[in-house]
C-alpha cells in the first residue's frame, strides 16, 4: 500500500486536506483585507461619557425646588403645582414640561403638569446637566442613564439639592452606557459617514465605553472635523406648483424625544423654539397648508437628503390657524417597520448629533507608503522566521523526511488561519501578522512534541539520540510487538500519540486563555493579535497536528 493511498483513508488526514483546500479557496475567493496600519488612513478612539444610576428622590421635592412652589400635589396623571404670583405656562415648558397648563388665581398660579414621576426626575437632571437622560427599564431596580460625564459624587450633589440620593452599593452607580445607547451612537456615526459618501469606514464598538473609527484616505484633522461636526437639518414645506419653501433650520429644534407609539402608529415627538414655532405657523399659513393640509407636504432634510415627508396633519393645521405650536410629532408608520423608521428619524432629527457626549481619547494617522513597507517587512520577517525554525528543526533531527512535513504543516496552519480570516472578512493588521509568526513558533513546538513522543515511545532513552530515526522507529515498532507498517495503527502508537496530545492540549489551553484578556484591552488594537493566536492554536491542535501525527507516524513506520 502506498503512503498516499494509505493516508487518504484516514479521517484526520482527510479533514486536514479538506480544511487546507477550503482555506485556499476562501483566500482566493474573499481575498485578504489589511488593517489601517498597513493600508494607511486615520483612526479615532472615542470614549462615550455616560453612567447609569439608581436614584431615590421624590418628584414633588423637585417641582417644589424648580418652581419655588408653595404646594405640590399629584392628581391622577398630573402634578399640580401652586406657585406664588403670576406665572406663564412657558416657564414650565422651558423646564422641559411640555404640555403644562397655567391657570392664574388671585395671588398665585396653578400649574398642571402632565408627567410621570420618572419624567420629572429626567427633566430635572437634563436641565441641570444639559445632557440627555434616559430610563433603563431593562434592569431592576430601574436605572437612569445619564449621557454625559458624571461621577457618583457630582450626581449625589445635584440630588442633594432636592433631597435625593443614589442608594449605597456598587450596582447603584455604574460607569458606561447601555448597549442600546452604544448601538445608537454607532448608528448615528454610520449613517453620518455614509451620508457624507465616505467609503471604507469601520465603526467598531469596544466594551461599553469606547468606539473606534477607522477612515481610509482621510487625515486625522479631517476625521476629527467630520465626527465633531453636526449635519445640516432643514424643514421645508410644499407650496403651490410643487415647489417648496424653507421653514426652519435645525437650530429651531429644541428637543427630540424618543419614538412614541400612539394607536399603533409610530412617531417622533419634537419641540420647537418659540421663534421656530412662529416661523412654522407663518410658513404653513403662507403656503396655504392650513386650509388644505393634504396637498402640502412637510419635508425634512439632513445634509440635503430627504429623511421625512408627509402631509401636514389636519389637527395640526387647524390649531396652527389659531396659534403657533411648539410640540409636534412626525408620524412614520405602523409595526416593526414604523418603529425602525422612527428610530432613524429620531437620529436624523438630532442633526446627526451623537446621542451621548463623546471625548476623543486617542487618534492618529498612518501613511499608506509606510503601511505597505511594513507589510513587506512583515512578510520577509515571517519567511525568515519560518526558515530559522526549519534550520533549527533540521539541526535537531538531521532528517529531511521529518523537517519537510513539519514545515509544511506549520505553513498550512498559517494558510488555514488566513482562510478563516478571509472568510470572516476580518482585517489583518500589524499585530495580527506578528501573531501569525508567534503561531509558527509555538505550532512547530507542538509538532516537535508529537515527533519525539512517537519516536521514543515508552522510555527515555538518552543514548538513542545518536541513532537514526529509522532505527528508533523500527525498535519502537518491534517493542510493541508488531510489524513495521502496522506500527501506525498499533495500540502503542495510539497511546503515544494520545500522550502527546494531552501535553499539546494543555499547552494550547494555557496559550488561549492567556490571550483571552487581550480581546478586551487596548481599545481593540491587540484584538487581532489575540484572535489569530487563539484561532491558530485551535486549528493547529484539532486539525493540523492530528493529521501530522498520522503522517509522521507513517513516514517513520513504512520505510
Amino acid at each position: 500500500m502506498s503512503l498516499i493511498e494509505d493516508l487518504s483513508k484516514d479521517k484526520r488526514v482527510l479533514l486536514y486536506a479538506v480544511a487546507v483546500a477550503l482555506a485556499i479557496i476562501s483566500i482566493g475567493f474573499f481575498g485578504l483585507k489589511f488593517g489601517l496600519d498597513l493600508e494607511g488612513g486615520s483612526y479615532l478612539q472615542l470614549q462615550l461619557q455616560g453612567a447609569q444610576a439608581q436614584i431615590d428622590v421624590s418628584p414633588e421635592r423637585i417641582l417644589e425646588h424648580q418652581f419655588n412652589a408653595t404646594s405640590v400635589e399629584k392628581r391622577a396623571q398630573n402634578y399640580v403645582v401652586m406657585v406664588p404670583g403670576t406665572v406663564e405656562a412657558k416657564v414650565a415648558e422651558d423646564l422641559g414640561y411640555i404640555g403644562a397648563k397655567a391657570a392664574a388665581g388671585e395671588n398665585s398660579t396653578k400649574i398642571t403638569i402632565p408627567a410621570s414621576a420618572e419624567s420629572i426626575v429626567i427633566s430635572y437632571l437634563e436641565k441641570k446637566l444639559d445632557a440627555d437622560v434616559k430610563l433603563n427599564y431593562k434592569v431592576a431596580p430601574v436605572r437612569y442613564e445619564i449621557l454625559t460625564n458624571v461621577t457618583r459624587e457630582s450626581l449625589n450633589d445635584l440630588l442633594a439639592a432636592v433631597g435625593g440620593r443614589i442608594p449605597e452599593g456598587e450596582d447603584a452607580f455604574v460607569e458606561g452606557v447601555t448597549d442600546d445607547t452604544m448601538l445608537d451612537t454607532k448608528r448615528v456615526l454610520d449613517s453620518k459617514l455614509n451620508r457624507l459618501g465616505l467609503q471604507d469606514i469601520k465603526v467598531k464598538t469596544v466594551g461599553s465605553r469606547f468606539i473606534l473609527i477607522d477612515m481610509a484616505g482621510a487625515d486625522v484633522a479631517q476625521a476629527q472635523e467630520i465626527v465633531g461636526k453636526p449635519g445640516k437639518f432643514e424643514i421645508r414645506i410644499q407650496t403651490e406648483n410643487n415647489e417648496t419653501a424653507h421653514v426652519l433650520y435645525g437650530d429651531a429644534v429644541e428637543s427630540v424625544e424618543i419614538p412614541d407609539k400612539d394607536n399603533e402608529v409610530w412617531g417622533v415627538p419634537f419641540g420647537l423654539s418659540e421663534d421656530g414655532a412662529a416661523a412654522f405657523q407663518k410658513a404653513a399659513i403662507d403656503a396655504g397648508a392650513t386650509r388644505n393640509p393634504q396637498d402640502h407636504f412637510i419635508s425634512m432634510y439632513l445634509d440635503k437628503e430627504e429623511i421625512f415627508s408627509a402631509p401636514l396633519a389636519p389637527e395640526l393645521a387647524s390649531s396652527l390657524n389659531k396659534a403657533p405650536t411648539r410640540r409636534m410629532q412626525a408620524t412614520v408608520g405602523t409595526g416593526d417597520a414604523g418603529a425602525e423608521k422612527a428610530k432613524m428619524l429620531n437620529i436624523h432629527l438630532r442633526e446627526g448629533a451623537l446621542p451621548v457626549n463623546v471625548e476623543i481619547v486617542g487618534s492618529g494617522q498612518v501613511s499608506a507608503a509606510l503601511g505597505s513597507q511594513f507589510k513587506l517587512q512583515m512578510i520577509i520577517a515571517g519567511l525568515i522566521a519560518l526558515l530559522a525554525v526549519a534550520g533549527m528543526v533540521y539541526y535537531r533531527y538531521r532528517e529531511r523526511r521529518i523537517v519537510l512535513p513539519m514545515i509544511t504543516t506549520s505553513f498550512s496552519e498559517v494558510v488555514m488561519m488566513l482562510g478563516v480570516w478571509a472568510a470572516a472578512g476580518w482585517q489583518l493588521d500589524l499585530a495580527s501578522l506578528a501573531g501569525i509568526i508567534m503561531v509558527i513558533g509555538t505550532g512547530v513546538d507542538q509538532l516537535v512534541i508529537i515527533t519525539d513522543e512517537l519516536m521514543r515511545g515508552g522510555e527515555a532513552a538518552v543514548s538513542s539520540a545518536q541513532r537514526s530515526i529509522k532505527e528508533r522507529a523500527a525498535e519502537a515498532a518491534e517493542k510493541a510487538g508488531v510489524g513495521k507498517i502496522a506500527a501506525t495503527t498499533s495500540k502503542v502508537y495510539i497511546s503515544r500519540l494520545s500522550r502527546a496530545f494531552v501535553i499539546i492540549l494543555g499547552a494550547a489551553a494555557t496559550t488561549s486563555v492567556a490571550m483571552l484578556p487581550l480581546l478586551f484591552m487596548g481599545f481593540g488594537s491587540l484584538t487581532g493579535f489575540a484572535l489569530i493566536i487563539i484561532l491558530g492554536v485551535i486549528l493547529g491542535t484539532f486539525i493540523a497536528r492530528p493529521a501530522y501525527g498520522r503522517i509522521i507516524g507513517h513516514i517513520m513506520g513504512t520505510d
Binding site: Q45, Q47, D219, V220, A221, E359, I360, V361, G362, S363, G364, Q365, S367, Q373, F374, Q377, M378, I380, A381, I384, A385, A388, V389, Y395, R396, L430, A431, A434, I437, I440, G441, T442, D445, V448, I449, D452, E453, G458, E459, A460, V462, A465, R499, G506, A507, A509, T510, T511, S512, V513, A514, M515, L516, P517, L518, F520, M521, G522, L526, I533
Partner: protein, 296 residues
C-alpha cells in the same frame, strides 16, 4: 553531557538557590523602579499619554525638530528612513494645529495621539487583565495535572519567567507598551508549554526520574530552540534591517515584543530545566521516601 550533570549531580535544594537568587534580583530591580517611578517597569508613551509623529527623514534631525519648535518635543530619533518625534501632553487645540502642521509640511506623516483618558484607561486595563490572564493559566494548569505540588511548580516557574522578563525590560530600557504587554501575555501562555511537557513526561512515564527529565529536556530544548530562532529572526528584521536596507523602517511594536520575548524565553529555559526540574526531583524524591520500599 554537561546538561546531565546539572540535572543530577547536585541535590535539588542546593541548585534551587540559584533560581531563587535570580528571582530575588528581578524583584529588586522591579522594586527599585517602582519606588523611583511609581510603576515596576518604565511606562511607554501609550501609558503616559502624548503624541508620536514620524516624518520622512529628509534633512537633519535638528531641522525637523525646529519645525515643531512651538510644541513640547521630548525626543527625536532616527528610525531609519524616517525621524520619530515624541511630544508631551498638550491641549486638544494644540494637537489639532500640530496635526495640520505635520500634514502641511511633510509628505505622509505618521501620527499617534494618546490622550490622558486613553493612557489612564490602558494602565487600569493592564493592571486588571495581566493578573487575570495569569490566573486563567494557573487554573488550566491545575485542571491538567490535578496534583497540587506539580501544578504549583509549573505556575511558580511561569511567574518567575514573567518577573525575569519584566526585570530585563528595566535592564535593557524597553518600556511597557501595548506590544510588550502582548509579549508578556504571550509568555504567560508559552512559558508553561515546556513545563507541562516536563511534568507530563516525568509523571506519566515509567523509569528513572533523572533520565526522564533529560529525555524531556531534549524535546524541550528543541522547542525553545525553534521559538528562539524565530524570535531572533524577528529581532533582526525589526531592529536592525533598516540599518542595512536604507528604505526600511524600524518596527517598534515588533521590536519591543521580541525584546521581551527573548528574555522571557531565556528565563523559561532556565526555569523549566533548573527550577521546575529540580523542584520535581525534590518533590518526587520526598514522596518516594514517604512511600518507602517502592522500587526506584
Amino acid at each position: 553531557m554537561e546538561l546531565e550533570d546539572i540535572i543530577s549531580k547536585y541535590p535539588p535544594r542546593q541548585i534551587m538557590l540559584v533560581p531563587i537568587a535570580v528571582v530575588i534580583l528581578a524583584l529588586i530591580s522591579l522594586g527599585v523602579t517602582y519606588v523611583s517611578t511609581g510603576s515596576p517597569v518604565k511606562l511607554g508613551i501609550e501609558f503616559t499619554g502624548g503624541t508620536l509623529i514620524t516624518v520622512p527623514g529628509i534633512g537633519s534631525e535638528e531641522s525637523v525638530a525646529a519645525e515643531f519648535a512651538d510644541y513640547p518635543v521630548q525626543d527625536v530619533r532616527d528610525i531609519g528612513n524616517r525621524y520619530m518625534l515624541q511630544f508631551g501632553p498638550m491641549s486638544d487645540s494644540e494637537y489639532s494645529q500640530l496635526v495640520k502642521l505635520a500634514n502641511d509640511r511633510f509628505e505622509s506623516p505618521d501620527i499617534r495621539h494618546m490622550g490622558p483618558i486613553y493612557s489612564k484607561e490602558l494602565q487600569s486595563q493592564v493592571a486588571r487583565y495581566l493578573p487575570l490572564s495569569f490566573i486563567f493559566m494557573a487554573i488550566v494548569v491545575f485542571v491538567v495535572f490535578r496534583q497540587f505540588m506539580v501544578s504549583a511548580l509549573v505556575v511558580l516557574c511561569a511567574l518567575a519567567d514573567i518577573l525575569i522578563a519584566a526585570a530585563s525590560m528595566n535592564l535593557t530600557g524597553v518600556e511597557l507598551s501595548l506590544g510588550t504587554v502582548a509579549a508578556l501575555l504571550m509568555l504567560i501562555g508559552y512559558s508553561v508549554d515546556t513545563d507541562i511537557l516536563l511534568s507530563m513526561r516525568v509523571l506519566k512515564r515509567k523509569g528513572d526520574v533523572d533520565e526522564k527529565i533529560i529525555g524531556a529536556m531534549q524535546t524541550g530544548l528543541t522547542m525553545a530552540g525553534t521559538t528562539i530562532a524565530a524570535v531572533i529572526a524577528l529581532i533582526i528584521i525589526s531592529n536592525f534591517l533598516y540599518l542595512i536596507v536604507p528604505s526600511f523602517t524600524r518596527m517598534d511594536i515588533i521590536a519591543d515584543m521580541t525584546m521581551v520575548l527573548i528574555f522571557g524565553l531565556a528565563a523559561d529555559v532556565f526555569n523549566t530545566w533548573v527550577t521546575n526540574a529540580q523542584g520535581l526531583r525534590w518533590y518526587l524524591g520526598r514522596s518516594k521516601k514517604a512511600a518507602r520500599g517502592q522500587k526506584r
